[in-house]
């Protein structure tokens, strides 16, 4: 996929005021809806043709029972890439203003990523209490601040690495190394999906660019390929190879599909004892249904203008990510198990993520403009539709940022893994609640540390899965998302 094309294409489109925000949907092109549906019918008609004794295997995304009743049926992870500063967003530290310009002392060896600890710097953003719960939030994210009564903050998160990619891998897969299945793959493996016509695990990368490591971030690792994340693209085929090529007539494709279906069924009849052969027949039927389902889900024409505005589609900065948030809701509504959204692309200059080394104020302002309204809109919309009750919303970065500047007389902050903030909302978590705390300057955990293992164990728990029982044998080990660690954080469960 080529995300850069998206950017240039959208620049040529009418400005937001010229057109209703909903009208500019994902595709300029119409999908081959009719032919695909007709085909699905055709294949379904004779799908039972497998010989007796050859049980048709369940659909690859067939729903599976959780280990125990789940508080959330589906989940969405908004991953704000690059390291969102906790002390500039949700973890208010007035002490930083008092100690402004002083070096941080008495906290053990100060060992930041770039090795240039500066002096303590107060947040350039104004903090205030919000909602009935009175949670502190800065004016950086005013719309999300308006949702704090639905949010359960965790102010005592700890990651293993202060290096982006290992930390991102850990947040995604529990391990700091390449090659482990990510959360979405584990959920697909453990729970399947409620909708057989869409992939169980969908990824919506930042419309600007892929995150560092690209598709490695949604790899199924050693889990079967069925469980890898499917990245929806915003140009061309939304799902790779989804559409019948334009140069092929519908009639030809239909005739070919008829012959293929017949041949493949005959092959099933001639070769008993292999259920994957019957599954192949079925997979073409599922493919045909997907050809119809995907265009429907990405078509926003039935969304009201109010909804589209809610997600910030009327604003140039928030439009791209807002679309992804709205699309995420539509996917979840249709039974997709897990949607992962990236807010932020790869590293380097110019910054298109939250990596505010040079100037945390300007960097975070720019990023916040893309994320604030869409995420708040998503929370409100899920709530209005009654979906928030059994949908788990996860917001996290890979780590936080140092309470001191990177280098002396500087305005940026370095990576900080020793404590940072994540939040959950929706199914099964206490709304308007804060769990754990950092110390007076946001450098160490002060209360109730939460490791990424604990975080994952809790997420799985909310989805009805025991993290010690969700296992897959690989090279000698019954592998888990949580390795051999992790405790469910009962204190934040509703």
């Amino acid at each position: 996929m080529n995300m850069q094309e998206t950017k240039s294409a959208s620049m040529n489109q009418p400005t937001p005021n010229e057109l209703s925000p909903c009208r500019r949907d994902f595709l300029g092109q119409a999908a081959s809806g009719f032919g695909a549906i007709a085909l699905a019918w055709l294949l379904a008609e004779e799908a039972g043709a497998a010989a007796p004794g050859d049980k048709l295997p369940p659909s690859p995304y067939a729903p599976k029972r959780p280990h125990f009743p789940a508080r959330a049926k589906r989940a969405i992870h908004i991953f704000a890439a690059g390291g969102v500063s906790h002390v500039d967003t949700f973890d208010y530290k007035p002490e930083l203003a008092k100690q402004q310009g002083k070096p941080l002392e008495g906290k053990g060896k100060i060992d930041p990523f770039f090795g240039q600890p500066g002096n303590l710097m107060p947040s350039p953003f104004a903090f205030a209490r919000h909602g009935e719960c009175g949670a502190w939030a800065s004016d950086l994210l005013p719309n999300i601040a308006g949702c704090v009564d639905d949010i359960c903050f965790i102010h005592s998160m700890q990651a293993k690495s202060s290096n982006h990619t290992p930390a991102t891998f850990q947040m995604n897969s529990g391990f700091t190394f390449n090659g482990f299945p990510c959360l979405g793959s584990w959920l697909s493996y453990g729970l399947g999906s409620e909708n057989q016509d869409l992939p169980a695990f969908v990824v919506l990368p930042d419309p600007r660019e892929l995150p560092a490591g690209g598709a490695t971030n949604w790899s199924s690792g050693f889990l079967p390929a069925t469980h890898q994340g499917t990245a929806l693209k915003t140009t061309g085929d939304p799902v790779l190879d989804l559409y019948t090529p334009r140069e092929l007539s519908q009639a030809s494709r239909r005739a070919s599909m008829e012959l293929l279906a017949r041949m493949n069924r005959e092959y099933v009849d001639a070769n008993h004892g292999d259920s994957t052969l019957a599954a192949r027949v079925q997979s073409y039927e599922l493919a045909a249904r997907m050809q119809a389902s995907v265009p429907e889900v990405i078509d926003f024409s039935q969304e009201t203008e109010a909804t589209c505005r809610l997600y910030g589609l009327d604003n140039k900065e928030s439009e791209g990510f807002g679309r992804n948030c709205l699309l995420a809701r539509r996917l979840l509504e249709r039974g997709v198990r897990f949607v992962q959204l990236f807010n932020g692309g790869k590293f380097g200059q110019p910054r298109i993520n939250w990596d505010g080394h040079e100037n945390v104020e300007t960097n975070h302002r720019t990023q916040a403009a893309t994320m604030d309204r869409p995420v708040a809109g998503l929370l409100r919309d899920l709530k209005d539709r009654g979906l928030l009750d059994d949908t788990l919303v996860i917001w996290s970065s890979e780590f936080g940022r140092t309470p001191f500047t990177q280098g002396l007389n500087a305005k940026g902050r370095d990576h900080h893994q020793l404590v940072f903030t994540s939040w959950l909302a929706g199914g099964g978590v206490k709304p308007g609640f804060s769990y754990g705390a950092s110390d007076e300057v946001g450098y160490h955990v002060a209360e109730d540390p939460v490791t990424i293992y604990d975080f994952h164990a809790t997420i799985l728990h909310l989805l009805g899965l025991d993290h010690t029982r969700l296992t897959f044998y690989h090279n000698g080990i019954q592998r888990r998302l949580t390795d051999v660690h992790g405790q469910v954080i009962h204190g934040l469960l509703a």
């Binding site: 995300m3 690209g214 079967p224 997907m290 090279n475 000698g476």
Partner: protein, 1011 residues
């Protein structure tokens, strides 16, 4: 019965009536029970985890029982809940792993009968489920071949298999027909479909060894290595990119892929194959193969950002532990089928592998260092020859250069003398390349060419015609007056010391002080010159020599930046390292804006640490274009003054001038000879470092170092000895040689077993041990342990010839049987572990890809060499920038030659279960998903192949549609269509075109499966 046994033991004690004997027996019994508890029960019912609140760790807790009350009633086994849990048809405990053996159950029963004796102070602790008596650790036996008589038995393999089948009352399937067989064995051995002519030849060959000849032909074909190397690459997680954040492409990693292909094709003895991959660079005689093979040790993921950008020391050492765990895991799983990596933080929970074993193995591999570096694969002899030739020619150049310089010095003095002032005045109108800016320090930091004057800062001074730099001294110019893109940076510099790191000589930087390009000393590597840049975006490691010129003399350094992004570094007028083009968008030539960008002398860039140079700059220049090598050589010779060469030459005597001309011509000639010497071939292979000391790390924590350990192997294996007898400070070479010998020893019980099982796995779709990377407790038990040993023993006896192993296996009756389904057999052995048929299976993603190319006659026969790259239309990766490629630039080669990139997998291969390159994959999963169907339906490659097949059918079968259909069936399925199939196909082809039929053939299960 139970009563009887109880009384028997009582009787035994009564009969012998010797208390001591009973006491001994009791102690033995207690030890046996303790052993069972420690290995099989305590993991869940110990002092750590106490499932059902039960702990069997101490006498007290064991007799108290758990939440279901007491579990042991001393003297009364039948009233003991424990016995109920562990015995019976399907015992409920242990909840994981194998049930206890009958012997183990009896031991516990007898112990309870005796009153469950338990010394008061004895506390049990969890032990690995398997001990050193574990089956796979025992020496390989030479089992005798069962004597069974049947037409089925063609080889000893069949006797072993038939014996097991007969025991279960099962029969093998009848022999497969010849057509099925040739398609099966061809895909299996070479990964391609049999051509129609090959099928005909085999079907027509009625001789008794027709099949043997077929197998020989396939094994002799170079296609064979391309097929089987791919299997090996799965196991060793071969990847041509780093993984992690940068995921940089390893341009020379393909040599390892070619090494593996060649090893299979030449049937390299397996022991050599093993040894080379561990220590080929240090095993005599050192060969190109041996050096290349060590790629194995560094082919896994590597976090370059963690090494380069990250400054936190503790994080770096953790990273090192992680990467070595992955390497150790790969070594042990690949060759031993053991998950030694599990013992990094604690003793292995299931296998007899201690943490100590892990760290001894780590010590053996402590010289394994990752880097982005490539190395020459020339053998020491070849390297010496090459060096001596280079040195000889270089000397010719150097002596002439020296003479030229002397002549020109004379000329220069003569010019100076002739000038009325009697002093050397600088010319700004030389005939040579004109700099955009030039700083000569005659007076101060002024630019004698234009207005890019510099200010002296941080204590920089100008004296004796030089810019003197120490501490944080620098010269900073005002903003550029025109934008600079293409450029050359040049300086004559003397270094105050050679140990300094990261100082800049001449840099051009953006106004923000971050983006820059410059001449930098000793930053990436000690004493080396590099083209420095922000985050090394345009920097490459260089092969040039480490600087040896100290403060007494000037060094001339120039770096040219060409319009296409190529960067070339020169030292004293000679290329310092091969020119290179940095990858990706960040590697492109930078625009330095007028009014913003500036030049720095003595500092790398203003926005970074440790950036200052100590030394003196005689002269510095900035050109607004990339000078050629010749211009730079001229500049080196004629300067650092700026009297033009023409003026100098004009001042020479006739004789001198003539000599000057001769020398110039000769230098040019020798340079050309030098340039004609081919660069040493490079491979991404191990560049070993000095092993750091290895400590046993408590809980795997780098901050909890314990005892220092020397290198060694696994203590649970008795032969070969796991003790290497090396001192703590042994060299990397000694350590790896010992490890290589230990792994490749014919006495090693695992190496041969694991290999023959892998080969079996690929032939039958499942190994005799179903977990090819895990011969430990958590792995599968062998379905045919005697057969496994027989094969392993024979493999060793035959010198580790994999081709002979193939011949044996594919020649067996088991392999040659049909794939017919037998419901009755399936009812007894649903997974076909006893091999009552040949299990049909779907082709791997690569075989599907290659089969489409072969069937449509598009397969590019080019073997080996650099991989073909995907295009930016197919994948997203910063180094893949070409939008699309036409056919015919290698993209229709076999898929083993496609560049393997961690973050940019081939979508269609991905959908067809090609594994993640960073995952050690001994056994691929086979999934069937709608996304896979969509790929096969609509992927441009499939559609292109369908069109190509249609073209071929037109070409080879003429205009008769029926003939086209028949050929299409032959090419795709190996057989002719039936009448009905022909009619249906004709209908489709006539109405909708032949390529639609070809598309159907490529999507058909019959195409994708082998029977």
């Amino acid at each position: 019965m139970i009563l009887l046994r109880t009384s028997l033991i009582a009787l035994a004690c009564a009969v012998f009536s010797v208390d001591r004997l009973c006491a001994v027996e009791e102690a033995v019994l207690t030890e046996q029970v303790a052993n069972v508890f420690e290995r099989k029960c305590l993991r869940c019912h110990g002092q750590g985890k106490q499932e059902a609140k039960l702990s069997l760790a101490t006498r007290g807790s064991a007799l108290t029982g758990g939440e279901n009350g007491p579990v042991i009633a001393p003297g009364k086994p039948d009233e003991s809940l424990l016995m109920e849990m562990i015995s019976g048809e399907k015992p409920s405990m242990p909840s994981e792993g194998d049930p206890l053996s009958a012997e183990e159950v009896n031991v516990i029963r007898a112990w309870i009968v005796q009153g469950a004796p338990w010394p008061a102070n004895r506390t049990l602790t969890v032990k690995a489920a398997a001990d050193e008596n574990w089956w796979s650790l025992q020496p390989i036996r030479q089992p005798s071949v069962p004597s069974v008589h049947s037409d089925f038995v063609r080889t000893a393999i069949d006797a072993f298999v038939l014996q097991k089948l007969t025991e279960k009352g099962l029969q093998p399937a009848p022999p497969a027909d010849k057509l099925t067989l040739i398609r099966r064995v061809t895909f299996d051995l070479v990964g391609l479909p049999p051509a129609p002519a090959e099928i005909d030849a085999f079907l027509d060959d009625a001789s008794s060894d027709a099949y043997g000849k077929l197998v020989d032909r396939l094994l002799d074909s170079a296609d064979y290595g391309e097929r089987w190397a791919r299997h090996w690459l799965d196991v060793v997680r071969f990847s041509e990119s780093q993984g992690f954040e940068y995921d940089r492409i390893r341009e020379h990693a393909w040599r390892y892929r070619d090494y593996v292909i060649e090893a299979f094709n030449r049937d390299k003895p397996y022991a050599d194959f093993v040894r080379e991959q561990i220590a080929g660079d240090v095993l005599a005689p050192i060969t190109r193969d041996g050096i290349t093979a060590t790629s194995f040790l560094v082919i896994g993921p590597w976090d370059e950002a963690g090494y380069r950008a990250q400054k936190s020391v503790i994080m770096k050492s953790r990273l090192r532990e992680e990467e070595l765990e992955d390497t150790i895991g790969t070594v042990a799983q690949t060759f031993l089928g053991l998950t030694v990596n599990c013992a990094r933080c604690h003793d292995h929970k299931f296998d007899p592998i201690s943490q100590r074993d892990y760290y001894r193995l780590k010590a053996a591999l402590a010289g394994v260092q990752f880097s982005g570096e490539n190395r020459s694969i020339l053998t020491p002899d070849e390297a010496r020859q090459r060096e001596s030739r280079v040195a000889k020619l270089q000397k010719q150049v150097d002596t002439r250069d020296a003479e030229l310089m002397a002549l020109e010095r004379t000329g220069r003095q003569e010019v100076a003398r002739q000038r009325s002032s009697g002093t050397v005045s600088r010319e700004s109108t030389s005939e040579g390349p004109k700099p955009y800016a030039q700083w000569t320090f005659d007076v101060d930091g002024r630019d004698i060419q234009g207005n890019l004057h510099g200010t002296l800062e941080g204590g920089a001074t100008v004296s004796g015609g030089r810019l003197k730099l120490a501490g944080k001294a620098r010269l900073k110019t005002g903003p550029l007056t025109k934008a600079i893109r293409e450029k050359t940076l040049e300086a004559w510099v003397s270094l105050a010391n050679l140990t300094q790191r990261g100082g800049g000589v001449v840099s051009i930087e953006m106004g923000d002080g971050r983006t820059f390009d410059g001449i930098v000393f000793g930053e990436l590597e000690e004493k080396k010159w590099i083209a420095g840049s922000n985050n090394f975006a345009r920097t490459s490691r260089v092969s040039g020599a480490r600087e040896s010129t100290g403060p007494d003399a000037l060094v001339h350094i120039a770096i040219s930046y060409a319009g296409d992004g190529t960067i070339a570094i020169y030292r004293n007028g000679q290329p310092y390292a091969p020119a290179y083009r940095p990858p990706g968008t960040v590697g492109e030539l930078q625009d330095y804006q007028a009014g913003e960008a500036r030049v720095l002398l003595g500092q790398r860039h203003t926005g970074g640490g440790n950036a200052y140079l100590s030394g003196e700059i005689e002269e510095a220049r900035l050109y607004d274009r990339a000078l050629t090598a010749e211009e730079i050589a001229d500049s080196y010779r004629s300067s650092p003054t700026t009297i033009s060469r023409e003026a100098i030459v004009a001042a020479l005597t006739d004789e001198q001038r003539q000599r000057h001309g001769v020398l110039l011509a000769e230098v040019k000639q020798y340079r050309e000879l030098l340039e004609a010497i081919e660069p040493a071939p490079l491979a991404y292979a191990l560049v070993p470092g000095n092993p750091e000391p290895t400590f046993l790390l408590a809980r795997g924590d780098v901050e909890q170092a314990g005892e220092q350990l020397s290198s060694g192997a696994l203590a649970a294996i008795r032969e070969p000895a796991s003790e290497f007898g090396l001192p703590l400070d042994a060299s990397d070479a000694d350590r790896r040689r010992k490890l290589a010998d230990w792994l490749a020893s014919p006495d090693n019980p695992l190496t041969a077993r694991v290999l023959v099982n892998r080969v079996w796995h690929y032939h039958f779709g499942r190994g005799l041990v179903g977990s090819p990377n895990d011969f430990g407790y958590n792995g599968e038990r062998p379905s045919h342990p005697e057969l496994l040993d027989w094969l392993a023993a024979r493999f060793i006896a035959e010198g580790g010839s994999i081709k002979r192993l193939h011949r044996l296996i594919v020649g067996s009756g088991v392999y040659r049987q049909a794939s017919h389904f037998q419901p009755a057999a399936a009812a007894i052995d649903a997974d076909n572990r006893l091999l009552w048929r040949f299990a049909p299976r779907r082709l791997e993603s690569e075989a599907i890809h290659d089969a489409m190319l072969a069937a449509s006659d598009k397969l590019d026969p080019l073997r080996g060499g650099a991989s073909f790259r995907p295009t930016a239309d197919e994948v997203v990766h910063p180094q893949i920038t070409r939008p699309r490629a036409s056919d015919g630039d290698g993209r229709e080669r076999r898929s083993i030659y496609r560049l393997v990139i961690n973050s940019a997998k081939d979508p269609i291969q991905d959908a067809l279960d090609c594994p993640d390159p960073s995952v050690k994959t001994p056994r691929r999963s086979v999934t069937t998903t709608p996304l896979q169907a969509l790929s096969l339906m609509n992927n441009p490659f499939v559609l292109r192949m369908a069109r190509s097949l249609a073209d071929r059918l037109h070409r080879e079968a003429g205009d008769d549609v029926e003939a086209q259909v028949r050929l299409g069936y032959r090419l795709a399925f190996g057989r002719l269509p039936t009448r009905i199939e022909t009619d249906r196909s004709l209908a489709l082809a006539r109405e909708h075109g032949l390529e639609n039929l070809c598309w159907v053939l490529f999507n058909a299960s019959e195409f994708l499966y082998v029977q």
